[in-house]
């Protein structure tokens, strides 16, 4: 798996590509932690663009859960977008789609992200 971070205004975009399973979950968790580090105040929102994510196992889901908790503690918006149908199914079945905001694509997610400095 490959993970890129991009900054759009006050938002950090996390762009994972490939398969998120037990083997790659630790790496993904580390990268997600990085996404919340931003000087001086941290990002206003973290959006994970999952368009390139082909597969998510239950160990992979845990990384999303940890990120959602980190966001909650940091008072930062957190959302996913661009889920492929099979990945979307995993989020639906596990009930994660009830506790994590999911947008259809990056444009929709960025449109809902806070833009101005508070």
């Amino acid at each position: 798996m490959n993970v890129r971070l991009e900054t759009v205004g006050q938002t950090t975009l996390v762009i994972p590509e490939g398969r998120l399973d037990f083997g790659s979950a630790a790496l993904f968790e580390k990268q997600l932690e990085q996404a919340f580090v931003r000087k001086p105040t941290g990002p206003a929102a973290v959006i994970i663009d999952c368009a390139g994510l082909e597969y998510v196992s239950s160990a992979g889901l845990r990384a999303f859960l940890l990120a959602a908790r980190t966001a909650q503690r940091a008072g930062c918006q957190f959302a996913l977008c661009g889920l492929q149908p099979s990945v979307r199914d995993v989020f639906e079945l596990s009930g994660f789609s009830r506790i994590i905001t999911i947008y259809a694509d990056r444009a929709a997610a960025l449109a809902h992200a806070p833009t101005a400095q508070p």
Binding site: S58, A59, E92
Partner: protein
Amino acid sequence: MAPLHSVNAAVHALAALLIQGRGRYARTFENVVLALIIFSVASIGIDSIAGLPLWATRALAIAEVVIVAVFSFEYLLRIIAAPRKLAFIFSFEGIVDLLAIAPFFVARVDTRWVRALRLLRLLRLLKLQTHMLETTVAERTAELAAKNALLEEAQAQIKAELSVARELQIAILPATFPARPGCDSAARMIPATTMGGDFYDFIELQNGQVGLVMADVSGKGVPAAFFMAVARTTLRELASHYSDPGTCLARANELLFRQNPMDLFVTVFYCILDPTSGVVRYANGGHNPPLLRRPDGSVEALNGAGGLVLGAMPGVEYPEHSVRLLAGDRLVMYTDGVTEAFNTSDEAYGTERLVAEIRAHGDGAASDLVERICRSVATFAGAAPQSDDITLIVLTWKRVEAATLP
């Protein structure tokens, strides 16, 4: 012949001790030789000074005899100790050794060029350095080997303990479904190579009802195994107190959320079967919906999926659903280790293959279907390693004949 024999043996023993050995004697001998080399090089320099007093020249001549004697002795020992003698004699080392002593023997005439040849002994310093380096490398290698052996031993112990833990984990799973007239059920868990967190359970409840649990803990290894044990005990305990599956899962979720230092979670399908009526009441905490095969061969997924996994968040409710089994219905509960078994081309086994297998096999014992599915998954996966636990329960319900009712 005999004395010659024993001399031969003694020389060989000496070669083994001083040249091949790695002990105290070999090191002392090496140091003596090194000191003599340094001394001999120095003496060549002193010897070339004009107008030395006679006593000094004599002393140097005696020293030269001793040095050449020791070097010759060492040279012979090296030839004896060498596994391939000719190769040693013609090697760089061998030639240097010979050049260090040869001038003494070939030229009793003390000409200047022969004296100059003696300077070739400087090359011996090089050789000795290599020797000492080799000794150091050999010592370090031995130390490393000892440390590696310790590490390997420790790793083997950890492996053995993990495998015991894995066996215990499997041993606590129930072997058989409680005997109920009209019910035929079988279960199987095939553990992955790393310790996983799948489990199933059959729980005897009041009024002859039976609770069935199918669960999958996120992650792997020791944390997942511990969480699995906690989850299983918690569910078992709650099942005896709460007669509705939704409340049972909601309570379990609260408890698991509170005793969850590793932030793990578990997907749980929990149902309660009334063996007399065939009514199954269930709640689903983030688990794949079980598949229901009707006697006409149609297969459907139980609705009510999408409840949140247990242990992730407090205050979650799990609505109760129910389905009435008809005579001959089969309920198949499974973990994603079945549908997400990958083959060598990275394709997943998938729900469709599982449904096809269930559709094709309506008759026969529940254990037969369990076996068939396991075999089908194994055939599909081929040489690909099993990355996740594979767990299955098949429950077949037949109408209970009046005669068999108590």
